[in-house]
Symmetry: C2
Subunit: 350 residues, 2 copies
DNA sequence: CTGAAAGCGCTAACAC
DNA sequence: GTGTTAGCGCTTTCAG
């Protein structure tokens, strides 16, 4: 039918293509939109018979609620934003994995924002929160200035994870990087090393600063002196680990051990040592940090500090959920345990 | 002031906390909301003087547009969904990196959906699209049945990347996995190996099937026979690479070369060989696939097929942008080049 | 237990 | 160049 008139045909087609709205379901089920909405939101408030009728209409029309409209009305999106400094770093992938897990268990969706360590991008992502596109935010990077963050925390739900900031009143979940740095360094000292080098992460991070602090404390506690020639700043990348180790080796300053602030740099360092003809662990003992998957499979296996990445993500999301529910803003801090995993690269095992 | 009355004070506080809306900006600037909206959407349509006034009101009130309302009105979210089978796999992180890059250049946001290879989760994510929460979708996994996908493609903008499906009319960006599989295997055959083993990816993937096909074709082209005892199905994980290599070695079937369907499994395989006292490449030549970061730093360096991961992401997003603009649905297919990278694990280099 | 109706905050067609 | 106004599709009082 309607074939005699193109206009009408087009109209008919449009109506087929057109999106099924709540009102359509309501009409088919002979109820009001309010009742349809109730069936979706609070089914127990609707008489069983009516509910069944509505549900079958929904099915029949293949109705999909417009979540945007719902969000606008409720002023809630059930979505959170995670700002990651670098999606390619497996440590962050694991943390995000944990966040995702807990989020989806609680019916929340996760938007990933990759800041690429660009501080301006980080500031940009704040707008996503301020424009109410998400209900909360987890920062895996905290380069922004404390004032901005403190202002933010007053109005919005924010959790900082992995990275942290002393002067910010946000909820945080971290590990004790100082203690872990001590643990790593002390392990090398106990093995008899007197000249322990260190390749730190970017010192703009508290996290890197603290691992570095731990390194220094361990050395001082041992009655030794911190030698600035044995300390290099890396960037948590393979290349930086490689390059800084070459730099250390070139300097001709003797050292028999190295604590790299993450496994990736430790692996870069060992590669550099090999190129240089320095054997690991015989000539150079190496300890890393993170316990990423490759650490166990690399040759030699990397002795490292394991941090509970997935758990960190889970906890961060839990904290965020709490803070999104609660009215008073929270500044809880959770500190997770790390532990030393001894493999071949430090020479403790034969 | 108002200190004499708690009620009022509370009221005042509320009004401060209250969200600034477009109407507030309009009133302060002495214009209508339409004009404010124009300043934000089509500034050139507004007289400069008015525009300046509006902009200064926006600044003064620190106004943040409610993007939800905008999206509802425009029926467009400027957000896309990327469904990833496994966020911890660096190949996917790189592709996502590329997608993210092109997306943000075009003012699109990316939501990451981690399906964890769970097909039900994949089906779940379809609803995000159907409920108009996102404008389009990139699938890095395509486990869903072709019928569902074909239905989907008719109504929504969908691009499949990395993985693919023969019978689906979606836009796709892939590499030639058959050709690449041939390339990898032929390289080993050219080095004189007669018994080349293969650890495939999960054979539910077309991608794995095709690399496997390539392997078989290369062997047959060489006039040799495909020996099913030398073929194992892996899961693209370190562990599966390790375990299946142990299985191969235990079978006592001789083989002098191995093509692993990804680098991670190649590394697992080499680890297994080491445990077994088999030297790589002297006793066993290994070729991987992907050219992940660790391949170059592992000892021995992994000979591998490099695939352009970031570019794949970029192209996928470009395709999606096109399809979201265009009315007619597109089924363009882009095939990107791969190339063999020779390192130590195959024994071609001394 | 159900319906009517008032918005959520914004955009865009139409009027001036 | 600017204002008026009608929605976008849903939820949630308030009545009945």
């Amino acid at each position: 039918m309607y074939t005699e008139c193109n206009r009408l045909q087009i109209k008919v087609r449009r109506e087929e293509d057109t999106i099924v709205k709540m009102i359509d379901v309501a009409q088919l089920a002979n109820v009001s939109t309010a009742t349809v909405s109730r069936v979706l939101q609070n089914p127990e408030e609707v008489k069983e018979e009516t509910r069944k009728r509505v549900l079958s209409s929904i099915k029949q029309l293949n109705y999909q609620p417009n979540v945007l409209a719902r969000h606008l009305r409720k002023n809630k999106t059930n979505t959170i934003l995670v700002v990651v400094p670098n999606i390619l770093n497996t440590v962050f992938s694991h943390i995000v994995g944990g966040i995702e897990h807990t989020a989806s268990k609680n019916n929340f969706r996760v938007i990933l924002g990759n800041s690429n360590k660009d501080i301006n991008k980080e500031y940009d992502f704040l707008n996503v929160l301020k424009q109410r596109q998400v209900d909360g935010m987890i920062l895996l990077s905290a380069q922004m200035d404390s004032d901005t963050l403190n202002e933010l925390v007053k109005e919005y739900s924010v959790v900082i994870a992995s990275e942290y900031k002393e002067s910010v009143n946000a909820a945080m979940v971290t590990i004790d990087n100082i203690k872990s740095g001590i643990m790593a360094t002390r392990h090398l000292l106990r093995l008899g090393h007197k000249q322990v080098a260190h390749i730190s992460g970017p010192l703009s991070n508290y996290l890197s600063k603290d691992r570095f602090k731990g390194y220094k404390q361990a050395i001082i506690q041992q009655g030794l002196e911190v030698d600035s020639d044995l300390i290099k700043e890396g960037a948590f990348t393979l290349e930086s680990g490689f390059d800084q180790t070459i730099a250390l080796l070139n300097s001709n300053k003797p050292f028999s051990a190295l604590f790299a602030a993450n496994d990736v740099m430790a692996i870069g360092a060992i590669k550099a040592a090999k190129v240089y003809g320095v054997r690991v662990p015989e000539d150079l003992a190496v300890v890393g940090f993170d316990n990423i998957g490759f650490s166990s499979v690399f040759d030699p296996g990397i002795t490292t500090i394991a941090q509970p990445m997935t758990e960190m993500g889970n906890k961060a999301m839990e904290l965020l959920l709490k803070s999104m529910k609660g009215t008073e803003y929270r500044k809880e801090r959770i500190m997770l345990q790390t532990n030393l995993i001894i493999r071949e690269s430090c020479g403790a095992k034969k």
